[in-house]
């Protein structure tokens, strides 16, 4: 069967854990030193699928994961980096409410460029919840209601909690769209 590849982007404020989530999911990362100035790191991961599930015509998909980084909220990412993605994972850090609030902006930017894509939301550093950190998800209403957003997860790149689910679920969703 011919190889199928999809581009996905990780988007979110500086320091929310985008790179860490990718490291968790992709066991062998390409040496990521080279493109830090350009602001992109690309990783690759083969996801095995269950072709017996409805609408799944292939047994594996290669994800090309673009880690858009280095630019913080004062500096928008280069919009052309988002082009051609079929999926995105929006990442926020539950210990920093500001990063939750900026999800909506990231979502708008991504969805304007890729109106046919699917989006997952990762509220990362969920391991801190166990340490009694309170969380206010009220700012997420608009994000949750957005038609391209599939699901919201509490993830932890530190413990690995929900990380695989996040990526694999997104992969299935992209193939179905």
């Amino acid at each position: 069967m011919a190889k199928v590849s999809k581009k996905i982007c990780l988007v979110g404020d500086f320091g929310v854990g985008k790179t860490s989530l990718i490291r968790r999911f992709v066991d062998r990362q390409f040496d990521d030193r080279y493109l830090s100035t350009v602001g992109v790191k690309i990783s690759r991961k083969l996801v095995e699928l269950d072709p017996s599930l409805p609408d799944i015509a292939t047994s594996e998909v290669q994800l090309l994961i673009w880690d858009l980084e280095g630019r913080n909220k004062f500096k928008a990412i280069v919009p052309s980096y988002l082009q051609g993605a079929r999926g995105a994972i929006l990442v926020a850090d539950i210990s920093r409410p500001g990063t939750l609030r900026s999800l909506e902006e990231h979502l708008d930017q991504f969805c304007t460029i890729n109106p046919k894509s699917k989006v997952m939301v990762a509220l990362n550093k969920a391991d801190l919840l166990n340490e009694g950190l309170p969380i206010d998800t009220s700012s997420l209403k608009a994000v949750d209601d957005h038609s391209q957003v599939v699901k919201r997860y509490f993830t932890s790149a530190k413990t690995g909690d929900q990380v695989d689910d996040l990526f694999v679920r997104l992969t299935y969703q992209m193939l179905r769209s």
Binding site: M1, V4, F14, S36, T37, E69, R86
Partner: protein, 698 residues
């Protein structure tokens, strides 16, 4: 590393319009301070903050010039000092918020005045605690301050920052995934864009090492080639080169470079412009397809970056070539896709024409498939790949004895076709002869030039009557024979009346250890791409008293997954310079869940079990020669007539059965235990304990 650096200085990015001046760039590099990336100790914190404060205050542009280089170091120190300071955060945040809520452009100086001494003092008092929160707090103030600076005098700032940026970028890359490096990169983006508007050369220069890294793999071969040539500079060929160098008035090094920069196309990719996904690809045999998706993604990112920063403001020209030493990436761009050809050596004009024509017709014929490409290679017509392969063939190096005459031959025939049939008869015979020689020699040379291990050695082939004479030097007998095999196959496919006359000499060139180590590494990387493989090689030279020679020894540690160890060993053994391979690998042993069960007091294996259970086990052993088998017989302690003897008898009989099926006895261990397998519990049926279990062992 040093070899790569030496190639760096030849690098250039070319754009369709203006060419850039190299001299200013070289100067910028030599002026840059080597200390930029050094992490200094925590005690310097106060000093560092002072520097940062001066920087933020914008205490005159001339200060900035000196301070910018130190900024990264300063932030490093801040990071150390601030790590995790809750108190600091508590006290700082309200101040920051209050200040920032004012109009920054008005209160910039006050803010810095107020903020700086507080930071100074707090940092001095408190050590390492809440880095992250602190980082966030500071990041609120920092960009605004820098922003203000930029707004008030962008041009001066950019001009001042300019020369430092390339150095800063290099340092930043050396730091790898340091948080500060990332933070600085963000701020630098702004400065970079300003910088570009004023002085593109510096920016272009800063990009080289980044781009270089991505194609380093391809470069390595060219470098090997050069090393090879330097090491044989005392050979007849080397002396010839020296003489030639004298006569032509060029340096020997330059000649070596020229010889190794024969044009050759390594790989061609058709890449979807937006997503960076590979639509089709063709690679010369030695390049592994695994990297192509990453390479395409990175090229796409570089193109976007260049389009956004470097090129957007100079009238719509596109990045069309990335040059790196004697390697380069040729880019041709259309609406939905672009083609990237990775090549080494000078690009002949003819090749550029071929590239553009091929790409043009690809885009025209398959517009729909390309624009609708969704990552599924199944939707790409095969012809696309065929055409890309043709580009690689056209760009493969053909070194021939009278290359000039023969190179022009195809042009002659084409011209004939145009003029008419009348004179064809006249030239027909001659042309055919010429064509045949050309075709045979080309095939002969390509057969060795395209082989990953032989490609380095510049073997030549010339037709002499019925013999294809192959000449050159290789470092081992193995390679000499491999070359003969390759050439015989290739020539035989065209005309089996031609014999290959192997005059290649196997000379024991002491291999360059660095090159060998690099090759070992590259080989291991290929294995590491496979599932479950994680190998860690080490190469060293070892004196062997027995043979009184120096031996190259590779030690490999790690896990080898399902790959047979022998495959790893033989791949390493073919590398010239590797004499011995020591493997220290853990194969992943298959799990054998099969159990045989027995009647009370009996050791007889039930007939049906022999067929259904032992046959697959014996097949597994035959398939995996590295696997040995432990056969464990059990007899529960309460078994009537049971005991150690019966337990052992059970396993012995099974062992016997396997030996009769042709498994070597030394691969089979039998043992008997009184008791039951671990997973058998009190609630399990009583027969579950009377069993034989298996365990694969290395």
């Amino acid at each position: 590393m040093s070899t790569t650096d030496s190639v760096d200085s030849n690098s250039a990015i070319k754009r369709s319009s203006d060419t850039t001046s190299q001299d200013s760039i070289a100067q910028n590099f030599t002026e840059s301070s080597p200390e930029n990336g050094e992490i200094q100790s925590v005690e310097d914190g106060e000093d560092a903050l002072e520097q940062l404060r001066v920087l933020l205050l914008g205490n005159g542009i001339s200060h900035l010039e000196n301070q910018m280089g130190n900024m990264q170091g300063s932030l490093n120190k801040v990071e150390h000092v601030l790590f995790d300071s809750q108190e600091l955060l508590d006290r700082l945040v309200p101040i920051g918020v209050e200040l920032i809520s004012r109009e920054i452009s008005e209160s910039r100086d006050e803010m810095c005045d107020v903020l700086a001494p507080i930071i100074d003092r707090l940092i001095y008092e408190r050590g390492k605690e809440d880095l992250e929160s602190m980082g966030e707090a500071i990041s609120l103030a920092l960009p605004s301050a820098i922003q203000a600076q930029i707004e008030s005098s962008p041009e001066t700032l950019a001009r001042v920052l300019g020369p430092e940026i390339s150095a800063a970028i290099r340092t930043q890359m050396d730091l790898k995934h340091g948080a500060i490096a990332e933070a600085i990169a963000a701020e630098m983006g702004e400065a970079i864009q300003r910088q570009i508007e004023l002085d593109r050369d510096v920016m272009v220069d800063a990009l080289y090492p980044i781009i270089g890294g991505t194609i380093n793999k391809y470069l390595q071969e060219v470098i090997n080639d050069i090393n090879e040539k330097v090491s044989d500079s005392l050979s007849p060929e080397g002396i010839k080169r020296k003489v030639r160098a004298r006569m032509q008035g060029v340096s020997e090094a330059e000649l070596i470079l020229r010889e190794s920069s024969r044009f050759s196309a390594r790989a061609a990719f058709l890449i979807h412009k937006e997503s960076g996904l590979v639509i089709a690809e063709a690679q010369s045999e030695d390049a592994e397809s695994l990297e192509s998706d990453m390479l395409a993604g990175m090229l796409t990112a570089i193109r976007s970056f260049a389009a956004d920063c470097v090129i957007a403001d100079d009238g719509g020209s596109e990045l069309n070539e990335i040059e790196y030493g004697s390697s380069r990436i040729l880019l041709e761009v259309a609406g939905y896709c672009y083609v990237a050809v990775i090549a080494s050596g000078e690009v002949p004009k003819v090749y550029l024409h071929k590239l553009r024509n091929t790409f043009g017709s690809l885009v025209q014929n398959y517009r729909k498939e390309i624009s609708e490409f969704e990552g599924d290679l199944g939707t790409v017509p095969e012809d696309v790949t065929t055409r890309l392969s043709w580009l690689i063939e056209q760009g493969s190096s053909k070194e021939k004895k009278n290359s000039d005459d023969k190179e022009s031959f195809p042009v002659v025939t084409w011209a004939l076709g145009g003029i008419g049939v009348a004179i064809v008869g006249l030239f027909g015979f001659f042309s055919y002869q010429n064509y045949r020689v050309n075709q045979l020699e080309t095939a002969a040379i390509e057969s060795v030039a395209q082989d990953p291990t032989l490609g380095l050695y510049n073997l030549t082939a010339a037709l002499d009557g019925d013999r294809m004479v192959m000449r050159g030097r290789v470092p081992s007998d193995n390679l000499r024979i491999l070359a003969e095999h390759r050439m015989t196959t290739a020539v035989g496919a065209i005309d089996d009346g031609i014999a290959v006359d192997n005059q290649v000499r196997a000379v024991n060139v002491p291999p360059n250890p660095t090159a060998v180590a690099a090759e070992v590494h590259r080989t291991i990387q290929l294995f590491n791409q496979r599932e479950g493989v994680n190998l860690d090689p080490a190469y060293r030279l070892r004196y062997d008293p027995a043979s009184d020679t120096t031996q190259g020894e590779v030690t490999v540690n790690g896990s080898v997954g399902a790959v047979p160890v022998s495959e790893v060993r033989s791949a390493l053994a073919t590398i010239p310079g590797v004499d011995q391979v020591v493997t220290n690998l853990e194969p992943i042993m298959p799990k054998i869940g099969t159990r045989l069960y027995f009647s009370v007091g009996s050791a007889n294996v039930v007939t049906i079990d022999r067929q259904v259970k032992l046959t697959p086990i014996s097949n597994l052993l035959k398939r995996s020669p590295q696997v040995r088998l432990k056969i464990i017989g059990y007899s529960p302690s309460d078994e009537t007539g049971g005991g150690q003897g019966l337990a052992l008898e059970r396993s012995r009989l099974v062992r016997q059965d396997l030996i009769e099926r042709g498994i070597a006895p030394n691969r089979l261990e039998a043992e008997g235990r009184v008791g039951v397998p671990e997973d058998v519990t009190a609630t399990s049926p009583d027969w579950a304990g009377r069993s034989v279990a298996f365990q694969a062992i290395p």
